[in-house]
């Protein structure tokens, strides 16, 4: 006997969709505005985007923890809220960077902002669902928008970067889909909580183990790609180099937060199920990633590429926290990114202000180290700020990343992985070298003669963003405590 379909609006709990809807609506508004008048200045779009993000932020804050909605595909738990907040804050720092003193191609298109908002919506979908379909849709929405944003930078390198990212992303998507198919085949479900239930009952079957094997490896490949873990990181340096500096900074934080959330959901599930080798391969990858990315960063000649490798290494660092699968470990992931976000975006913004239309220092690179030689003499405050960012990235206390670092290491120690903490420590030491290299260039070398100013792109909004990042970097010690307690509360509330 067929039941008539009866969907009550209340059960849909549409409020859970509100944040994404706001962003998507905002994107559409931008497109419509452009249709009406295509002579509008980018500053309008920047501010509009900021406002939309602001509203989005408010909507996310208004969500209740641990709710489901929209046919139960939406999952609003603690990590989804904090990750959305972080995504939005990251975006809000990123967007004003469009207001440079020089005109850059991509920002003159309103589509840039619309695409950006679509991308945010995609990320938000990724983190607010445990349905593999919705996650997939989110990933792809965000990724496709991101490919386009990279390409919009309108340089041959950006096209190359976009194509590389796109092609590898497509392959990763195929892996993801195949992994989902395996899970679906195993359990008959694509809702992670149901998948977990089914798996838990059949965990001892040999056939199931092999299938878990396959699915986890396939999914791991897909997410390792997103998180740029070794050996799936190869796209990252090239794409970061090809993308504009702020976008590279953005990419090293926000998409990774989203990917981490999904990874926590999927791989945390596996580890919870007692599939120990998932933890082991994640640990192996994490260690390899932080180490190899570090030693590759050592030999870079370009600051941006160095920062790219550095953010790969940081991702490896955090991936190790994921493998711990403790509340502290998960808190560490978010804490780390929350702190890393400001510093890293700040560092990339510093590159952005020194961006020229053409390469003046090196035929190959936009930001070779030589460009920053004697920066202290050219722009003392800028040099000090960049120095602070570098020290923070290197994990020198009391700057922000240090607190993330010790939290991750403490989590590792608490979980019984003292060796991991030592590996992290040694890696931080290796990493210190390349951050120091920039400091050495900035503070201890003399400027390259006959090349004009390097703070080409500076404007008030950029100064504001950098100032904010600096403030957040330096005063971390004072807000770490509320941050930790908030994150810890949210994460433990959602059961991780």
């Amino acid at each position: 006997m067929l039941q008539p379909i009866n969907v009550s609006l209340e059960s849909l709990n549409l409020i859970t969709l509100a944040p994404m809807l706001i962003v998507i609506a905002g994107a559409l508004i931008i497109l419509i505005l452009d249709l009406i008048n295509n002579k509008l200045h980018k500053s309008l779009y920047v501010m509009l985007t900021l406002l939309i993000l602001f509203v989005d932020f408010g909507a996310v804050l208004g969500l209740n923890v641990n709710e489901r909605g929209f046919f139960d595909v939406m999952l609003i738990d603690g990590i989804s809220i904090i990750s959305q907040l972080m995504i939005i804050v990251g975006s809000m720092i990123f967007i004003p960077l469009a207001l440079t003193s020089r005109r850059f191609h991509e920002y003159s298109y309103p589509e840039f902002f619309a695409l950006f908002l679509f991308m945010i919506a995609g990320f938000q979908f990724m983190v607010t669902s445990d349905n593999l379909i919705l996650i997939f849709v989110g990933i792809e929405t965000a990724s496709l928008a991101l490919y386009t944003l990279i390409a919009l930078h309108n340089r041959s390198n950006s096209y190359e970067a976009a194509v590389k990212y796109f092609t590898m992303g497509a392959l990763a998507a195929a892996f993801y889909a195949m992994g989902s198919a395996v899970i679906y085949g195993l359990t008959g479900s694509i809702e992670l909580y149901k998948v977990a239930e089914v798996m838990a009952t059949r965990i001892n079957e040999t056939g199931l183990m092999i299938a878990i094997f396959g699915s986890s490896v396939l999914l791991l490949v897909a997410f390792s790609f997103k998180l740029s873990l070794f050996p799936f990181h190869t796209w990252a340096p090239d794409v970061y180099e090809g993308a504009s500096a702020p976008l590279a900074g953005f990419m090293s934080v926000v998409p990774k937060i989203a990917a981490f959330v999904v990874s926590i959901r999927i791989f945390g599930m596996y580890i919870d199920l007692g599939v120990e080798w998932v933890r082991i391969i994640i640990l192996v990858m994490a260690v390899l990633t932080m180490t190899l990315a570090n030693i590759m960063a050592l030999v870079q000649e370009d600051v941006k590429r160095m920062l790219a490798y550095s953010s790969i290494s940081h991702a490896g660092f955090i991936m190790a926290a994921l493998a711990l699968d403790t509340t502290e470990g998960t808190t560490a992931i978010f804490l780390y990114y929350a702190l890393f976000m400001f510093t890293n975006l700040g560092a990339f913004s510093m590159l952005w202000i020194s961006r020229h239309k053409n390469r003046r220092f090196d035929a190959r690179y936009d930001h070779p180290y030589e460009k920053f030689a004697g920066f202290i003499q050219i722009m003392p405050v800028g040099a000090v700020i960049m120095g602070l960012f570098m020290l923070s990235l290197a994990g020198v206390p009391p700057f922000s990343v240090f607190w993330g670092k010790i939290y991750v290491m403490q989590a590792a120690v608490n979980a019984g992985y003292v060796w991991l903490a030592i590996v992290m420590g040694l890696n931080s030491a290796i990493a210190a070298y390349y951050y120091l290299k920039l400091i050495v260039y900035m503070f201890l070398m003399d400027p390259v003669k006959d090349v004009d100013t390097i703070y080409y792109n500076l404007s008030k909004p950029l100064m504001a963003v950098i100032g904010l990042a600096t403030l957040a970097t330096v005063t971390a010690i004072f807000y770490v405590q509320p941050l930790i307690s908030y994150l810890y509360y949210m994460i433990s509330a959602s059961g991780y």
């Binding site: 194509v163 590389k164 094997f213 490896v217 490949v221 050996p231 340096p237 080798w277 082991i280 030999v299």
Partner: protein, 632 residues
Amino acid sequence: MMENLVYIALFAPFAGSLFSALFGMSPKQTFVGIVASSLLFISFAASATLAYHVYSTGAAVHVTMMEWISAGDLTIPFGFLVDQVSVTMMTVVTLVSTVVHIYSIGYMDHDKSFNRFFSYLSAFVFSMMILVMSDNFAGLFIGWEGVGVCSWLLIGFWYHKADQPREENPSISPSWAANEAFIVNRIADLGMLVGLFIIYWNVGSLQYDVVFAAVPELSGSVLNAAALALFIGAMGKSAQFPLHTWLTDAMEGPTPVSALIHAATMVTAGVFLVIRANPIFSATPEVSFFIAALGTFVALFAASMALVNRDLKRIIAFSTLSQLGYMFAAAGLGAYWIALFHLAAHAFFKALLFLGAGNVMHAMDGELDIFKMGGLKKAMNWTYIYMGVASLALAGIPVFAGFFSKDAIIETAFNEGTYVLWAILVLTAGMTAFYSFRQVFLTFHGKARYDESTLHPHEMYKFVLIAMSPLALLAVIAGFFMGGFQTFVTKLLPDYVMSDHTHHLIWVLTAVVLVFAVGGIWLAYKKYANGLKRDEELENSFIYKLLANQYYIPQFYEEFITKPYAMLSEHMWKDVDMKIVDATVDGIAKFLYKSGDGTRKMQTGNLSNYLNWMALGSVLLLVVAAISAMLS
């Protein structure tokens, strides 16, 4: 009242030193010398008064100025003890110092660093006073090191002289000799420190009274170790074999310095230490015998080198070494008061000898080779008399001071039944007489062997000669106070009297020694009184060369210690530190950097490679997962 005198005796030289130091960088000011000397005289007067006080009351004066170091359970005060032993030393030191100070006013007349010299010299006296007056081992060590530094400063007083090859100047240069003295002394000081540590950890204090009171409760091994360690300290200061080389090189310093430091006072500090710590040494017969044996050996060993040396000051230095050997022999055999007496008597006549040598040097324009002197009797009559008296005393001719003290030591050796030591000491007495008079004759008798057309020797200033007279007087008469001295110091030191058997033989023993001594003088007279006859064959003989080159010990040290040390240091730096330790560190860094270069090759920029990496990565993941699944 007496406390104040203690402080006056102690700090008057210090005041003199500081006063002179004020003018240290200015040109010569005669009054600096006069002030310093006066202050020294005040110190001497205070010491003498104290001596009289101690003599008349028989009680020691003990003052504690303040606490110095206090850590853990260790407490070291600045405490000063004036008892029979220290007051003897104080009197001797201040007396000789006063004479030497006055002497120096004349001797250093033409030196542009006149003021600086007095500053150093008075500082030395101050350190020496601390050394002898301290009531604890740590305080003694302060003085011990203090005299070491002053000795370093004074040996290297003419620091501007350049290094010369060893063949031209066996001491190379004043600064070299100064460093040698300091470093060799430091070797011994380590022993001394260890002695202090042993005492502290077994007694819990470094105060003499506490330590000596605790001696009966200490085990033999501890006492032996402590005694040995302390004696090693004494060996350095008193230049006993094998740490003796610095003393002859120390003759690079101005002659008053040699007289004061390297003859009369500092070098006897080792003997003083043994006497001071006699309760420990009395309780350790083995170590004491070792001290006696080593002392006897050094007496002979040094005397043998003096036989052939041509350097006026070095001969006296060897003789000092030899006499120190005598003192150690006495102290080692338990005759502490005799050792102390010889110390005092030796201080007088040896200082006199040195000052006389200084006069000669002054007259001869710095020449020291006795083969290039001769016939100075005419020009320097007073000096001749002084040096003659001193040499007679040194040779142990009756009536003179040395006769009483040295004879007593030789008798002690006999009395203890150590006939070998006795024989050696007697032989040495003969050698002593020979080399002393060889020197006197070669210097003052015969014809002049220098170029009389350019060099006109002249007598020293009158006031200098007068200043030397107390020493001369004491060199003659000191022996007569032996009995009184014995009763005085044996209130504190263990008495030592000859057995009846020895007592019966005393005339025979004295006669034997005298025969050797007179024989030595006679031999010297025969050979040298009428001028120098070089004996090529003898001078080329192995023994002669061996002795002239100090048994090749300095060369041995240089070849087997100094040079290897320098070479080893060089290797340590260039091969170990740079090529191993540092290279390892840099190697790790380079390895990481190189592996970065290697790893970045995977970043070809070619998309196809990247995709392959992804595929390969997934395979690798499968493999790792499979391995870990199988292992778990």
